[in-house]
Each structure stands twice: as C-alpha cells, then as structure tokens.
C-alpha cells in the first residue's frame, strides 16, 4: 500500500469543531473565549445547519408565566419523559444552565416574544409541566442559529471552513489530533491538525424514508467517532415526531412544529373523534412525542386514518389572526407546498423521523468521549434525553453542552493537546478509500452500484423494519438488509470528477449511514422491551432490568459489539425532585431502580 499520500492542504488550530449548528457554534465561541484558535468545519454554508428546522422554542424553567416552574420541575419532566434511562447528571446540569443560556442569547441580540410585562414569553409543549418554551413565532431555531452565527463571526480567533466534509478522525496513539476530509467545491484534500476535536455534527434521520432531516443528517460524526474507537450510547432510541406533513409525496416528512399543539391545535381521526382523549386523558395532544406518534399510528392501523394515511391537526378554532401571528411559517408551509389554508382547513399529519436520542457516549461535566481529545455535544452526543426527548430540549441541549464541550476541549488543547503529529499512513489509507468510487461510467452496465440507490434501499429497510414499531423478526430483516447493502457498497461507483460532485459525496454518506443503521438495529435487538421511542411489538411491556441499563455500541476487531452498561441510580438529593412534575404518578413510574421496592404500581405497565 502506498504510504505517500497525494498532496493535501493542512490547517492547524487549537480546537477543531465539526459542525456549525447551534452546538458547534456555541462550542467555538466558548473555546475562542478561552483563548484558543478555533476552526469550525461545516458541510454547508454557515447558518444552514439543521438547527434552523427547530421551530417551537427553547425549554427553560424561567417561570415568567408560571412561577411554579423552575429547574427542578424541568429536571423531573425531562427524566420522566426519557423514561428514567437518561444520564441524570446531564439532565441536572442542563436544567440548571439552560436558563442562563437563554438569557445569554438575548444579550447577544436574539429576540423572543414577550409577556405583557415585557419579559420573555413561554409556551406550553408536550409533557412539560408548565409553559416553558422561550420562542419567537415558530422560527426559534433560525433565531438561535443567526444569533450564534453573528456572535461567532465577530469573536476573535474563530475561522470557518464552509462546504468541507470530514471523513476520518486522525489519531496520535490513543489521542485524537485532528481530522481529514475534503473541500466539497474543489475536491481538494485537507488535513486539520488540532489539540482537541469537538463533534457537533448532529443526528442521522437520513437513513429513514420519511424524515424531517436534511441531507446533512447522515451521522458522519458518530460514524467517525465509532471508527476512532469511541463508545456510542442508546443508539436504539430514534424519535418519531408525531406530526410531519404526509401529502403531497415530495413534502412527506417535513416537520409540522409541536408549537401547533402547544398553541392549542387539536388532533382528530377521520371519524372526527379527538382520539388523544383516549390515549392520554391527562396530557391529551400535549403528551410526550412517543405517545402521540404511536397513537396516530394506531388510529391509521385501525382504519381511522385520513385519505393519505394520517390524522387531522386542526387550528381553525384559534382564529386566523392568531394562527398567522403565532404559527406564520406553518401557515406559509402548508399554503406553498400543499395548497392548504390552515386557518380554514385541517392539516393532514403523520409520524416522521425527527431526532436521535442516542449518540456518542460522553462525560456529563465535560462532554468528553471515551477517546482522549475528542468531545461531543448536541444531537451527536447521547444520554441527556434517555428514551424520548421532550420538545424544546434540543435547542437548550446544544447551548448548554456546546459551551461545556468548547470549554473542556480548550482546556485539553492547552494542556495535553500540544503535540499534533499527523501520520501520513492514516491519510494515504483514507485517500485511497475516498477515491475508490470515482471513475465509474454512469451509462454502462458495469458501472457498479449507484450510491443514491443504495441510500434509497437503506431508507426502505430502516423505515419498514426498524421504524416506529419493531420486532425481533423485523429487526433481523433490517440487519440482513444492512449487511447486504454493506457488501454492495464495496462496488459503489460514480461518474464525474472531484469538483463538487454530489454523487461522489453521497458515497461516504451511505457508508456512514450503514454503520449507524447497524448500531440502531443491534441496539434495538438487545432492548427486549418497549420504552420511550423503542416500541417492540414482541415485547410490549417495560422491563425492570432494562430500566437499569444503557446499551453501548463499540467497535471490536471482529465487528460491532453491543454491551449493556448499568446506569447509575438517581441520588437521594435528586430523587424527590421527580415529584415536582405535574405528571408524576407513583403508580406509573417507568420501570427500573425506582420501582424495585415501590409499594404501589406493582402491575407491569403497558406502553400507551
């Protein structure tokens, strides 16, 4: 094998941040303010990351409208929503610090809707005890990203590389010392030498057919971390958002914000029945996302679906003026894409893949992964949300843990990240792998496998067999499909050169998605129970033993391993806080440590 690589550009910095969504930008600001030189690498243009798709708001227990709220209640709601398999220390830090992060955003020029007293307005959201989401209309994610973007580009020490793809973490011994990739527009290779690396590369909804995620969400960061030897956590937990558009076909999967229900929107089946009253009489439409998504699914299965196979979401009773003021982008979206006026017609909605709770396993305080020099924050990291994420907790997550990752990476870069030696053998091997698909002839039968077709086949396998409901049988089918696709991917070929060639770019996206899909399926096979987003048709109950473990995926010499690791029981100081949630019910506690000696609720709980 050639050990002399093709010439490549080299960029050196103290901290390399992978991804320019909210988590990446917040990490970059923190690391630069700590005195480090920072390079942010993004696959897209700045300001286009998936953060813009978050619409509803940032959950923070400020209590501007409901004085009963506070970080303690937010902690309790998040733990209960995650079915108590969350990393409780992450949740504690998060619920504490997100309040400051919201106020900080305002100090950076971000705007929020106001109360009558001129304070930050907060709206109700699924499974939050009180009105908690700081928001501006239904474009809070855009506001967050634009605010962080303007703050970051005016922070000394931050450079941004737009439209670069990173494909491999470079290691020096056990430590990560940079990353390798290419400029998407020129195809030129580039190595980033860094004292520490922060993965803020987002989630991986793209391996499903119907998703609210953009092309970017292919799980590059988690796949690179896995290849570099880092642990992945909770990969089986993939969130279906209950309300995505279902018609027209091209719009299928596009998100319909939970703010629609937060502002009072109601769900009906085709018979006009408000079915959420039956599935969750307490929280109704504002039940947690896993429950609402399953309820819509069950209605459709029972033959009560709308013409295109979903449910009706209705805001007509709120009045046209209110809808246009509080949900302007939803009004526009349905008007433009579906020719539906939501002030006079109901929306047709159904579940869509939205978020991945699992991710790179991190330390709560520092966001450090299990590989020295490598940090992860935001959707790329796992642990905060447990088995199900509450709406509004992702925008807070990226700010709180983006900052923590940036701080910790800066500290590491200054102390242990001094030597940054790049191993040309690693680079030569990576170059060979990247160049392998080029030189195909699209027109000939011997062209090899089309990366887009592999992607489509993967999406169908994951959607049908590792989707909202799973079983041993379906998951084994999905696994077989993934392994077959992996074999086909060795023959992947594309035409054209290296200058902005989307077919070529898709090749690595697909191989990354295959790795992550395998982790999802293997995790889902191990978790033989239903909990949060994981709904097993062959194991409908929640099990005590699985409430006491998380599943960790790691790379072994002979392939992928999934092992169970015990999660730490809630400490005595946090345990009483659970009762602060308005939805706390001792008879319905998620099964795990807390239900072992509980006198009440002895019957096994079925998933709603």
């Amino acid at each position: 094998m050639a050990v002399t690589p093709e010439p490549y550009d080299t960029i050196e910095c103290d901290v390399l941040v992978v991804g320019a969504g909210g988590a990446g930008m917040r990490a970059a600001i923190a690391a630069a303010e700590a005195g480090c030189s920072v390079t942010v690498v993004t696959k897209s243009l700045l300001g286009k990351a998936h953060t813009v798709m978050a619409e509803g708001g940032i959950a923070a227990g400020i209590g501007n409208l409901d004085p009963e709220d506070g970080w303690e209640v937010h902690f309790a709601d998040t733990m209960l929503g995650g079915q108590l398999v969350n990393n409780w220390r992450m949740v504690e830090l998060y619920a504490h610090e997100v309040i400051d992060r919201v106020l900080e955003l305002e100090r950076w020029g971000g705007i929020f809707d106001r109360t009558d007293d001129g304070l930050i307005m907060q709206r109700a959201f699924g499974a939050h005890s009180w009105r908690r989401l700081a928001h501006v209309g239904d474009r809070t994610g855009l506001e967050l990203i634009r605010t962080c973007q303007d703050k970051m580009v005016h922070t000394a020490g931050v450079d941004v590389c737009m439209e670069y793809t990173l494909t491999r973490l470079l290691k020096s011994g056990d430590r990560v010392c940079g990353a390798f990739g290419y400029n998407r527009n020129t195809g030129r290779f580039v190595a980033f030498k860094a004292g520490a690396v922060v993965l803020a590369s987002g989630g991986w909804g793209r391996m499903y057919r119907y998703t609210s995620n953009s092309w970017e969400c292919s799980g590059d960061g988690a796949a690179m971390a896995y290849q570099a030897g880092a642990d992945l956590l909770d990969m089986e937990f993939v969130q279906f958002h209950p309300t995505g558009m279902i018609w027209p076909p091209g719009a299928r999967g596009i998100l319909v914000t939970e703010a629609v229900r937060g502002e009072g929107g109601l769900l009906f089946n085709a018979e006009g029945s408000r079915f959420m009253l039956d599935y969750d009489p307490v929280k109704k439409e504002l039940s947690s996302r896993d429950v609402v998504a399953r309820s819509i699914y069950k209605e459709v299965q029972a033959g009560r679906g709308t013409p295109h196979g979903g449910a009706y979401l209705d805001v007509r009773h709120l009045g046209a003026d209110y809808v246009k003021r509080k949900l302007p982008s939803m009004y526009e979206q349905f008007h433009a894409l579906a020719s539906v006026d939501i002030t006079s017609q109901p929306m047709e909605v159904g579940p869509t893949i939205h978020y991945t709770m699992g991710g790179v396993r991190v330390d709560a305080e520092t966001a450090a992964t299990t590989v020295p020099g490598l940090y992860a924050a935001g959707e790329a990291a796992g642990g905060l949300h447990g088995a199900n994420r509450l709406g509004g907790n992702s925008l807070g997550d990226i700010l709180v843990f983006g900052r923590r990752a940036g701080d910790a990476a800066a500290a590491f870069a200054k102390t242990e990240g001094g030597t940054r030696v790049i191993d040309d053998a690693q680079i030569a091997a990576e170059q060979a792998e990247l160049l392998q698909p080029l030189g195909g002839d699209a027109g000939s039968a011997a062209a090899g496998e089309n990366p887009y077709k592999l992607h489509e086949d993967l999406q169908l396998a994951m959607q049908d067999d590792a989707g909202i409901g799973r079983s041993e049988e379906s998951l084994q089918r999905a696994l077989a499909a993934i392994l077959e696709l992996r074999e086909r991917s060795t023959r992947i070929r594309v035409s054209g050169g290296r200058v902005l060639n989307p077919g070529w770019h898709t090749c690595r996206d697909v191989t990354n998605m295959l790795v992550i899909s395998e982790a999802i399926v293997r995790g889902a096979l191990e978790r033989r129970e239903s909990r949060g987003s994981q709904w097993r048709f062959d194991h409908l109950e929640q099990e005590q033993e699985f409430g006491k473990v998380n599943f960790v995926t790691r790379r072994g010499d002979d392939g992928m391993h999934v092992v169970s690791v015990p999660n730490k029981p809630l400490p005595d100081r946090l345990r009483p806080l659970l009762e602060r949630s308005r939805f706390y019910d001792p008879a319905k506690l998620p099964k795990g440590y807390l239900t072992e000696t509980a006198p009440a609720g002895g019957t096994t709980r079925k998933q709603q």
Partner: protein, 271 residues
C-alpha cells in the same frame, strides 16, 4: 369506543405500505439545466422527469441526480423553505427550488440556471462567500454594559424586528438587485440583505451603536434607488424596501440633511 383498547398492529402490515402512494400524474416534465464550471462554456442539459403530485422543482432535480445524472451539482438543505440554500433561477426568475411548485409553472420546458450575480462554482451552485464577508463588516449587536436583568421589551418592538429576523439568507434579493447584478458594485454596496440586517440592529431597542455613518459610507445605501426588485423576490415576504431600506434612508436624511441637525452640527464643530 375505547380506542386505546384496539389490538396492537402487527409488523406484517407496516403502515408505511398503506400510506405510500406514488402520486404519479402520468405527465413528464422537461427540465433544461445549465451545466458548467468556471472557464468553460456552460451548456443546457435536457432531462425528462416524471411528474408527481405537488412536485417542487427541487424534487425534479433530485430525480435527475438519483436516476439520470449523479454528477449534477445543486445546493440544498432543509427542503422546507427554512434554510435558504437552494436558490436558483427558474425560467429566469430567482426562486427557492424547494418552494417552487411545478404545477405553478407555465406548461412546457422549465429552464434552470444558477444565480447570475455570483461567481459560478459548478452547474447550479455559485460562490456566495462575499455575503459572509459583508456580514463580518457590520458591527455586531452591542448592548449597554450596565443594562440590568431581566430585560423588559414591549412585544411591539419584537414584532417590528421579527420581520427582519425572518430572513433565511437565500440571497435572492442580492441576486436580483441591479446595483449588484448589472453594475457589480459588490465592493461598495452591501445589498438588500445586509440593509435588512443593519435595520434589525438599528431598530433593536437595546442596541446602542449608531450605524448610520457606516451604512452610508461602507454600505453604499445611497446607490439604492428603491426599485423594489428585492422585495418582490423575497420568499419570506419581508417588505425590504418599505420597512428596511426607506426607514434607513430616512434616518440618514435626518442625520445628514435635516437643516436643524446640520445647524446644530455646524455649531458643535465651531466650538
């Protein structure tokens, strides 16, 4: 009826199968895409795309990439008109590809060209980096250091700013503005997007900087002769001309040409 008591659905009938409707209309769209790289002579490539109900032009581009030409370059991200990545010119009009319905276009072939005002990278993708340089030149939001907590801001102020903050930086207004498109004054003229940006800072009740000198001298707002082309193409329906450009021009007038202000400035200078 207790809906929750319904039997649990089985895996054998995945709901997706029942839901998946192809939506094919039986019609075919002829797409003519200008393909090329800098230095070469761009050529229109013609593709035939089966039309699906409610199809947007970006769907047609994806069909081409997946089935006919994997090498066709097109920038896109959210496909929900929220990120502003997929800007291009359809039948000569600057639009977001993800928001342009095929059934809203006149019958016949559809032409697809890259944004004209920016340097070409490849096919439908242009180099918009100048916009990011301009943004860096605009001083960031700056609040008074001693401003107390928490801030109290009336909703009316937020409503006014919200219109400007809706901008998704698709740069269609920059593309269509004749100061940039015909005169190529990108070195002395910020362009509509960034006057909206300045207006959002200037009108923020907590921002303390006076941005008028810079907007006139470096931004070149005076070149704008309010033809409203920018407003017409804005996919977020921001009233760029009426609510950002004209008010900023008025603030400029107040500063530089108001007789009383000029007298006051003359007196101050004499001291």
């Amino acid at each position: 009826m207790a809906v929750a008591d319904q039997p649990t659905p089985s895996v054998e009938s995945p709901v997706e199968n029942a839901l998946t409707a192809s939506g094919l209309t039986g019609e075919t769209l002829t797409l003519r895409v200008l393909k090329g790289v800098p230095g070469g002579e761009p050529e229109e490539a013609t593709y035939q795309v089966p039309v699906v109900a409610g199809m947007v032009v970006l769907d047609a581009v994806h069909y081409v990439q997946h089935n006919l030409d994997t090498d066709l370059a097109c920038r896109w991200n959210c496909k929900a008109a929220k990120c502003g990545s997929c800007s291009a010119e359809v039948n000569g009009h600057p639009v977001l590809l993800c928001k342009t319905r095929v059934d809203d276009l006149p019958a016949g072939p559809v032409t697809l060209h890259p944004l004209k005002s920016f340097p070409l990278i490849k096919d439908l993708v242009t180099d918009v980096s100048r916009n990011y340089e301009v943004n860096r030149e605009i001083p960031p939001f700056t609040a008074a250091p001693d401003d107390g907590t928490p801030w109290r801001i009336p909703q009316q102020d937020i409503d006014r700013l919200y219109e400007f903050r809706k901008c998704i930086e698709c740069f269609l207004c920059q593309d269509v503005c004749h100061i940039l498109r015909s005169h190529d004054y990108s070195d002395r003229f910020y362009g509509p997007r960034f006057f909206v940006r300045v207006a959002s800072l200037e009108m923020h009740p907590k921002d303390v900087l006076d941005r008028r000198d810079q907007t006139r001298d470096q931004g070149g707002l005076g070149y704008c002769n309010i033809t409203k082309c920018c407003t017409e193409v804005c996919p977020e329906h921001i009233h760029i001309t009426d609510n950002a450009l004209i008010p900023m021009k008025e603030r400029m007038v107040d500063r530089y040409f108001d007789p009383i202000t000029r007298l006051g400035r003359a007196i101050r200078r004499k001291r």
